[in-house]
Amino acid sequence: MTAPSFSEQRIELSNGPLTFRTGGVGRPILHLHGTGGPNLSPMLENLAQRHTIYQPVAPGFDGMPAHPSTRSVTDLADLQSEFIRKVIGGPSDVIGLSFGGWVAAWLAARHADLVDQLVLEAPAGLRDPGTGGLPDDPAELRRMLYAVPERAPKPTRSPEALARNRQVREGYAAGISLDQALLEALPRIKARTLILFGTKDEVCPVEKTGRRLKAGITHSHLSFIYGAAHALEYDQPERVARLIGAFLERGEAFLVRNPEAA
């Protein structure tokens, strides 16, 4: 099976331009990236065999122009809703990774009709202040991201570029680690939601974040990926792909064992 090719495109939205990567064939998936910026993981390439992937670069990340009126996580969620309407053309499945998971949760809460099924991979925004988070020390950061360091991707950005992306993220997060407004908004999420956490995640400790999401989102499933830290897709690609693939393709029936569908 050959990897689908991806192309880069650009669209003008009401607040400014947005660059995105797209590829694959099938039911659409909007993929919202984390603090490091967008990456095409092997898991995403695999999903592209059966889905059309849209991966926008949030304004300000990777040197893209900032939008003067897109300042917060909720602004980003609103921006993505416009992207869904204008580019995808209707409701879409959404996968959000870490910081992107925070945006995705707001997107599903504020624009419930535009999100079909939602996958939150170790989402940020719901951890207690003083717990978890990304450390400054690069070695410590790497240790907290990857439980299986040999599976970590080769760096595609310079340390300076990563630092800039992190600054952009801090700008949107505005010092919030526990987003109380999102906690209150979670019941507005109508999409069936799969919440994934690694059993070794120290960045977003599941004890609080995962449980808050599970309790708040009406139709949700919390799953632990054994042996994974924060970078789930890299630490345990097969386990994550197996679970997300089954969830997106079979909906609630992913709960029922079906070896033929694996």
Partner: protein, 374 residues
């Protein structure tokens, strides 16, 4: 010092050593089985009146060595036959079982007993892996993953899924949850350095089943303590459980004679074919991560088989004698190893139940009062 009363529930009526493993069940007589269960359960319940803190059950398969294929069934009976004694399941052989079922059954015992479960999460001895057709080389990783999953099943407040190497469950939410919060105390084997490290990491109590050599036992205890400390846990003496075949009688001579007979049946009959099966697993799989641990395991059994009662007492491998002698032996081992909990097995091989009962009474009246304050 605290004491656990442990029972293997052996089949006592075989006349000759079985030819091979698994042991043919042709000789099993159901009516006799009923008698044995009744007597053994009475004895185990009696441990509460004899001052034992725990009563211990365990799991073995396909052999007259023990009639507890599922020790949770016995634990469940004891939950209703006793009031205060802790019910130590020592334990379920986790890599062989469905971890969710273990979490459920342990939680049931804990709730039914009002929070008296001590949860043994045990890898088991090599030949059990033939019985349940699980690859012995996977046993350590299965134990590791299943332990993590069982702890989640006990502590997660919301339904959750598990995507692991050996276990995949899309949705878990056990009823009941354990009585003790966040979960029952854990006990893990620490018979070699690898397992001692694992027990320490999990802040579990550690157990050594049979001690052939006090020096090796001390080494395992040191590794356990160091691993526990590295994980922010300072084990107390009662977190260290040492297994002891024990025979207490009015005189040293009576105790020695009874133990000698019981051990003869134990080693020559009950253990006979098991040793072959264990060797097979150790030689043909990676049950032990280090070859020396496999050799040590086999040697330990051989050593215990060949030693005289006096040699075993000197080596700190058994407790045997009059109450006065046993008190001295306990004091010595406690002093040398710093262990605060002994797992006492008095039904060794085919030692008569009346001798076992008398030994329990002597323990209650003349041993425990002398060592409880240690």
């Amino acid at each position: 010092m605290k004491f656990s009363y442990f029972h293997l529930m052996p089949w006592t009526d075989l006349e000759e050593a079985p030819a091979q493993w698994p042991v043919s069940n042709r000789a099993f007589k159901p009516e006799r089985g009923k008698e044995l269960y009744d007597g053994y359960i009475d004895t185990m319940a009696f441990a509460e009146a004899c001052g034992f803190d725990w009563v211990g059950c365990n799991e073995h398969h396909f052999s007259p060595y023990g009639l507890m294929a599922n020790c949770n069934l016995i634990g469940s009976v004891l939950a209703s036959r006793t009031k205060n004694i802790k019910l130590a399941m020592l334990g379920n052989l986790i890599p062989l079982l469905n971890p969710i079922r273990v979490a459920e059954e342990y939680a049931m015992i804990d709730v039914m007993s009002g929070g008296r479960l001590v949860a043994g999460l045990i890898r088991g001895v090599p030949h059990e892996y033939i019985a349940y057709n699980v690859a012995p080389g996977e046993s350590r990783e299965r134990l590791r993953e299943a332990t993590a999953l069982i702890l989640k099943a006990w502590t997660e407040p919301e339904p959750f899924g598990w995507e692991g190497e050996f276990y995949q469950y899309p949705s878990v939410s056990i009823w009941p949850k354990p009585y003790q919060r966040p979960h029952p105390p854990l006990l893990m084997s620490a018979s070699n350095e690898d397992s001692a490290e694992f027990a320490g990491q999990h802040r579990a109590m550690m157990g050594i089943t049979l001690i052939a050599d006090l020096k090796l036992a001390r080494r395992s205890i040191e590794v356990y303590r160091a691993a526990a400390r590295a994980h922010g846990f300072e084990p107390a003496p009662e977190h260290i459980l040492l297994g002891y075949n024990t025979c207490i009688a009015e005189t040293d001579e009576e105790a020695r004679a009874a133990l000698r007979e019981g051990q003869r049946y134990f080693h020559r009959v009950l253990m006979h074919s098991i040793r072959d099966a264990q060797r097979l697993v150790i030689q043909k799989s990676r049950f032990f991560a280090q070859e020396q641990h496999g050799e040590r395991f086999v040697n330990r059994l051989e050593t215990l088989k060949e030693r005289s009662i006096d040699e075993m007492i000197d080596a700190g491998s058994v407790l045997c004698g009059s109450p006065q002698s046993v008190v001295k032996q306990i004091r010595r081992i406690h002093g040398e190893l710093g262990a605060g909990r002994f797992n006492i097995n008095m039904k060794i091989g085919n030692i008569p139940d009346a001798v076992v009962r008398r030994g329990m009474e002597l323990f209650r009246d003349r041993v425990l009062p002398e060592v409880a304050a240690l």
